[in-house]
């Protein structure tokens, strides 16, 4: 017992030392980066204040830019987005919209609005993407090209756009991002200043929640009225005005937001375009550009320009935010792991020797170590080896440094571009910098650990991104409420979640299932939305039912095409969503599955809920969606058969 206790104490005490030392080093690094950011911001402000006396539209030397817009199920917003992009101030611009196998009317809307006509010729290039179904050009706008392709995810869609443009530069932009009218002119500034060396340039992303939007432009900048988006405003300011500026100062910018970044087209083609097997393609492509250009011994620069602004809507609830952050975390780990050969190698300059190792230690490991600390604290206290005085001092210092770094970002914004004009808003931002340390920060460590587990399990889903859309005059537009994140991976179920359908079975299932496979979602969508009578039938061939698959029983959810399955539980809140499916009898005595948050509505003592962990259920497995029934433990599975009067279990 004594020996065990000694070991436990030694481990905990050693961990304590490690955590304290780690925090001292990381915070010192952060402070250095933020100080460098201030210098960089000063230079950027000076640069942007100097406007040479020539007119962009009169000059034949501006590089052409293709706006590459991946679009997956963007029917409600795509026309407005394209109109907004066509109205951007830029002398030589092309819009390439890539319809990534949308299952809604995205393409029809574009055809209708812009007089699209099919190009009656095969694409003569080898494009590293899923098959291209057709290319369309507008009879009205000479510079609009629409590519219709099979679903392959955002990276895949971007590649199609990058390969089908002849412009010198391309701007990767999300279809639901609002771009300031002059933002493109501003973000290409590094390419104008050093045309030969610049290969990529990123702008600032800001939070559009509660801003007044008119004609695809942010007309009035407001701080979100609610806390969660407000804290994210502060986070974005800290990330862009402190983090990225500091890294740019170090010549080590490794992340350009996928929502708004400009790249040299030929350089991205040289590295084979965007990787398909990553979920944070924006991070990955910049790191690989660093790697490729350093390997080829090419003099280059990758810049961050703080003033050009694109606006995005951020999640306003923890569930959606958690999904987004878990995806970011998994993508970060993926990219860090994929670029491991660059670590500590002088060949890759500061990116390899300083930035990537620091980034990994701070951003990838930081939340995990912090989470570990929260676990160790009560144990250390229980074991009596926690010095409360020291702990409080340490806590005060770490929180203080966190607040300082956050305030630094707010200060940078106020000192430079001052978009939040009201001092009251500035005070609120400062308050959010304090507030995030109590609850939100701890929650993020849980999210990071969750993300790590998902990464280790090979989860590649995007997760559902619910957006309310940008309404005119600050009001949420119901029509735009269905906008999903742009160009999301189809296999990650980036699905429509509009307010009008909030009570429908489809949306509810969507939320419940976290991030199931799109095909499963579409199939369930038909079940719920068509209203056609039917039931689950036990069959051997999945092709006989509605959709291209069905449910099989399995003990390993990796057998399915999604990241989870349905298990039987007595408490619906134990699942990933807010409810589940209970077996209920309709008026005709036919048993059906109905969605409910209260299992007492149904027969039996429980119902099916969506989860990623089969062990949570009452049985020794659960149902997963698959296209191959051989994946399951039995000889067959369950499909939905429209009009089936009899058959297997409900």
């Amino acid at each position: 017992m004594t020996t065990l206790g000694s070991v436990a104490t030694a481990v905990i005490a050693g961990s304590g030392f490690f955590i304290v030392t780690y925090y001292l080093l990381i915070n010192a690094g952060y402070l250095l980066i933020h100080a460098l950011a201030l210098l960089q911001l000063r230079d950027n402000v000076r640069e942007s204040a100097w406007k040479p006396s020539f007119r962009a539209f009169d000059s034949p030397f501006y590089p052409g830019v293709a706006m590459v817009v991946p679009a997956y199920n963007e029917a409600t917003t795509i026309v407005e987005s394209v109109r907004s992009m066509l109205a951007l101030n830029y002398p030589d611009q092309e819009i390439v919209v890539v319809n990534d196998g949308s299952s809604d009317a995205t393409l029809d809307r574009l055809v209708e609005a812009f007089g699209l006509r099919p190009v009656d010729a095969e694409v003569p290039y080898d494009v590293p993407s899923e098959p291209i179904r057709g290319v369309y050009r507008s009879a009205i706008h000479e510079d609009l090209l629409v590519v219709d392709k099979e679903n392959g995810g955002k990276s895949d869609a971007l590649n199609a756009g990058v390969w089908l443009t002849e412009q010198e530069l391309f701007c990767a932009v999300d279809a639901d991002t609002l771009i300031d009218r002059d933002a493109l002119l501003d973000v290409v500034a590094p390419f104008l200043e050093e045309p030969s060396r610049t290969v990529a340039s990123g702008g600032t992303i800001r939070v559009a929640n509660d801003c007044v939007v008119q004609d695809g432009q942010v007309k009035e900048v407001n701080l979100p009225k609610t806390g969660l988006p407000g804290v994210q405003v502060m986070e974005y300011l800290r990330a862009f005005y402190s983090g990225r500026l500091g890294l740019a100062r170090l010549k080590g910018l490794i992340l350009i937001s996928g929502a708004f970044g400009v790249f040299r087209t030929d350089r991205v083609r040289e590295i084979g375009g965007y990787r398909h097997d990553t979920i944070t393609e924006d991070f990955d492509v910049v790191v690989r550009l660093h790697e490729h250009l350093s390997d080829a011994d090419i003099d280059y620069r990758i810049e961050f320009v703080p003033e050009p602004v694109a606006w995005t809507e951020v999640p306003d609830n923890l569930r959606t935010l958690g999904r987004q952050r878990r995806r970011w975390y998994r993508g970060m780990i993926e990219t860090v792991f994929a670029s491991r050969r660059m670590f500590f190698r002088r060949r890759y300059g500061r990116v390899g020797t300083v930035v990537l190792p620091f980034f990994t230690a701070a951003e990838a490991l930081g939340p995990l170590i912090e989470g570990l600390g929260y676990v160790l604290l009560p144990i250390a206290w229980y074991l009596g080896i926690l010095n409360v005085e020291f702990f409080l001092a340490f806590l005060l210092l770490t929180v203080g440094v966190g607040v300082f770094l956050s305030w630094f970002g707010v200060f940078s914004e106020v000192w430079s571009y001052n978009r939040y004009e009201s001092p009251r808003d500035v005070l609120r931002l400062l308050w959010y910098g304090v507030l995030e340390n109590f609850g939100y920060r701890q929650w993020k460590t849980i999210v990071a650990w969750h993300g790590l587990i998902e990464y280790l399990r090979g989860d590649q889903s995007w997760g559902v991104m619910e957006r309310r859309g940008f309404g005119s005059e600050g009001e949420t537009s119901a029509a735009a409420a269905a906008a999903p994140v742009a160009g999301a991976r189809g296999d990650g179920a980036e699905t429509v979640a509009d307010d009008s359908a909030a009570t429908s079975g489809f949306v509810w299932i969507d939320w419940l299932s976290e991030a199931p496979d799109t095909d499963g979602i579409r199939w369930l969508d038909r079940v719920a939305s068509d209203g056609a009578p039917g039931r689950f039938v036990s069959v051997a061939d999945p092709a006989v039912g509605v959709g291209d698959g069905g449910f099989v029983w399995t003990r390993d959810f990796a057998d399915g095409v999604g990241d989870g399955g349905f298990v039987w539980m007595t408490d619906p809140s134990d699942g990933a969503g807010d409810g589940g499916f209970a077996i209920a009898s309709d008026g005709d005595g036919v048993l059906r599955l109905v969605e409910t948050a209260d299992f007492t509505d149904g027969l039996g003592d429980g119902g099916f809920v969506w989860t990623t962990d089969p062990d949570l259920g009452a049985g020794d497995g659960g149902f997963v969606w698959t296209r191959d029934f051989a994946e399951g433990t039995g000889d067959g599975g369950f499909v939905w058969l429209v009009g089936a009067a009899t058959g297997g279990d409900n």
Partner: protein, 418 residues
Amino acid sequence: MSVDPSSVPLPPFSSPVLLSLPGPLSRGLALAAVVLGSLLLAVVIVTVGYSLRAARSRRRRTPARETLRSELLDRLYGRDDPAWDEWVAGLSALERDELESLLDVYLRELEGGDADLLAELGTALGIDERARREIADGGYWDRLHALVWLALLRDAPDRDLLETRCTDTSRERAAAARVLYAAGTDDCATAGVDLLLRDDPRSFSVFGVDTLYRVAERDPTPFFERVAADFDEWEPSLQRQALLVVRHLTTVVGGADRSWIVGALSSPDPSVRSAAWRALGAYGWDRGLRDGVDLSAIGEDPVPSVRANAYRALGAWGDGEATAAIESAATTDPDARAQVAAAETLVANRGTDDPPSRRVPGSEWVAGPEGVASVTDESAETEPFGAAWAWATEHARFDRLARDISAERERLHEEVRG
């Protein structure tokens, strides 16, 4: 199993820190807390202070700006004599500052007599004198801003001042040459090219290239003389920019030495070779220059983008010899993008009804229905130039369609207006 904390001996390395704080550590923590607290206080005071100051400034400036704008436009367009001096004399410091800002906006937008009148307002505000002082005595950014003002006011300072104070960086050189161009001085081309390209020049920004192009448009001779003399000594990026200027020049260059353009086709840097081809596109009329180009060697360049630009240059020449050379090289070009570039130039020159014909083993190009090339041999159906031709033909059709619709729309607008 449970652990009794009281029975567990603490490892020696942990106890000093975790159980009791030694004096130095305690003092260190206290010091860190004081420093951090001070920093936090400073940041919050400065941030809120800046915000309040900015808000106050906006409250004062916004209405003043609107009043000044109205008055400015009234004096510019509503009176015979704007009486700038009289107006400026009655303005406060804040109003003068705001008026300068407005002047900056309008000087960038207006041309001709309106711009000349506004330049007089700049003089009334004393901007020209201040700019000269800043060029003579100011720092880097002061000089750059001063040069922009002088360019906007079309007011060239002494050459000596420009040559002694404004040649440290490519940016300053460009800004200085721009002043001469904007002011329309007689020696704009000579002095401008000298400012830009003398003494080991580095590559320019787009603004610099545009300025070089503008001064060379005034009189291309100094530019061509300088480039012919120094081209080989420049870094590839600057070589590329000089060739880019040549490509866009529309002024007749007479008997200037242009052999360096042909020489650049042999550069080891593919981007320079590409730029040289594009530059040559503007000189299809110059038989002497053309004779120096080996058209049969186009297909031998190992870089597809160079070959593509060669096709574009020959397409710009547009005569039978050039298009035959494109056809000869492009139909066997292994790169799809180069083929598309060639097909586009052929379509532009010969129309969509005249696809290239050539013999390939086991097949023959023929003009297919609707002018789209096809091959007679099934085994050669994947012949890539056919795909390139079809692609180029379709896009040419759409380009025409969009332009026709735009022209028709414009015509209707004119009818409505007229």
